[in-house]
C-alpha cells in the first residue's frame, strides 16, 4: 500500500481567505497488496491534518471494499481428543 499526501502550497503573503480554504489531498494505492483500488480524498488544512486522517481513510476503505481484500483464513477448531481411557 502506498500513501501519498499532497498539501496545497499557500504562501504566507496569500490572502487570509485563501489560507483558510487550503486543502491537502490524500491518495492511497492498494495495488501493492494486489488490490486494484486507488482512492483519493481531501481534507481542510495542510499536511498535518492529512497525516492525521490518512489512517482513518484507509480503515474506511478496507471496510467499505472488504470484498476486494483477501480475508484471513479462520483457523478450524481442533477436535477434542476424547481421553476416554483416562476418564474411565
Amino acid at each position: 500500500m502506498k500513501k501519498t499526501i499532497t498539501a496545497q502550497e499557500v504562501s504566507k503573503s496569500s490572502d487570509a481567505l485563501e489560507q483558510l480554504k487550503r486543502t491537502a489531498s490524500v491518495q492511497i494505492d492498494f495495488s501493492g497488496e494486489g488490490v486494484g483500488l486507488l482512492a483519493e480524498t481531501s481534507v481542510g488544512g495542510g499536511e498535518e491534518e492529512a497525516l492525521k486522517y490518512a489512517p482513518v481513510f484507509e480503515k474506511d476503505l478496507r471496510e467499505n471494499y472488504k470484498e476486494l481484500f483477501p480475508q484471513p483464513e479462520l483457523e478450524e477448531p481442533k477436535e477434542m481428543i476424547e481421553e476416554v481411557g483416562e476418564k474411565k
Binding site: L20, L37, V43, G44, E49, K52, V56, F57, N64
Partner: protein, 248 residues
Amino acid sequence: MNGSTRRIRADAHGKPAPQYFNSDEEQYEYLEGADGASKVMAEEGKIADLATLKTFLEVLGTTADADSLNTMIGLLKNLKGKDFATQTTLEAARVLLETISGLDFAEETTLDALKTVIESIKSTDGIKKITDALPAGTNEIGEVVISGDETLPSSAPVTGMKTLVPGVAAEVFAGASRKANRVAMMIRNLSKYSEAYRLRFGESSVSDTKGFVLEPQSVVVLEFNPKVATPIYAIPETNTVQVEVYEV
C-alpha cells in the same frame, strides 16, 4: 395702248390667225395650245366663285380659327417631344425582359431545394428538429420534457461509511473518491441519540464551531450541478462520528 392700234397676226396665206392681244407687250400674239385645246389663263378670283369651292372654304374657316389652330400646334409640339416606341424605349424593354427571363420563378429546381430544406429539419416521426438555441426573450415556454436531463442520475449510486475524526475537516463521499458527475448526496449521522455527537458540514474551512449542524440520526440531502465538482467537508464537534453516505 389697246389692240386697235396694232396689226393683227396673219397665217401663211395672209388670213387672220387665232391670236390674242398681249397688253404687256402691246402687240398681238398667236394663240397657242396643246392636246386639242388652246391655253386658257383665269384671272385671280374668277374660279373661286364656284359654289362648291365657296362652301368648302366657308366650313374650313369655321373650324380652323386661330385659337383652335394654336391649340393644335401646341399639341403637335408636345407629341414631337415624346419617345413613342423608338429604338431606345424598345431596348430598355428588351433589357428588362432578359432580366426577368433569368429568374427562377418556382420552377422545379426551386421546389426541389425547398423540399430538401424541409426534409432536413423534419424527423421521421414528424417532429421538428431544432438545432439552433432558442432566442433570448420573455416568451413563456410551456411544459417541456427533456430527454437526457443531466440533473437526473445517469449511473448507479454508491453507498459507503465514513469516519470523521475531531480536528480534521474531511471530504465526504461514499466510495473511494468523490463520484464523478454526481447530482445528489445523502449523509446520515450515525451517532446514537444517547451519544448525541453532532457534526458540521460545508466548505473545506468548517470546524467544530463552524458549519451546518447535522444532529444524530439526521439525514441531509445535497443536490449538485453534475458539471461542477463540489467537494463537501464534514467534521465532528467533539467525538469521532461515523456517517452513512449515498451518492448518485
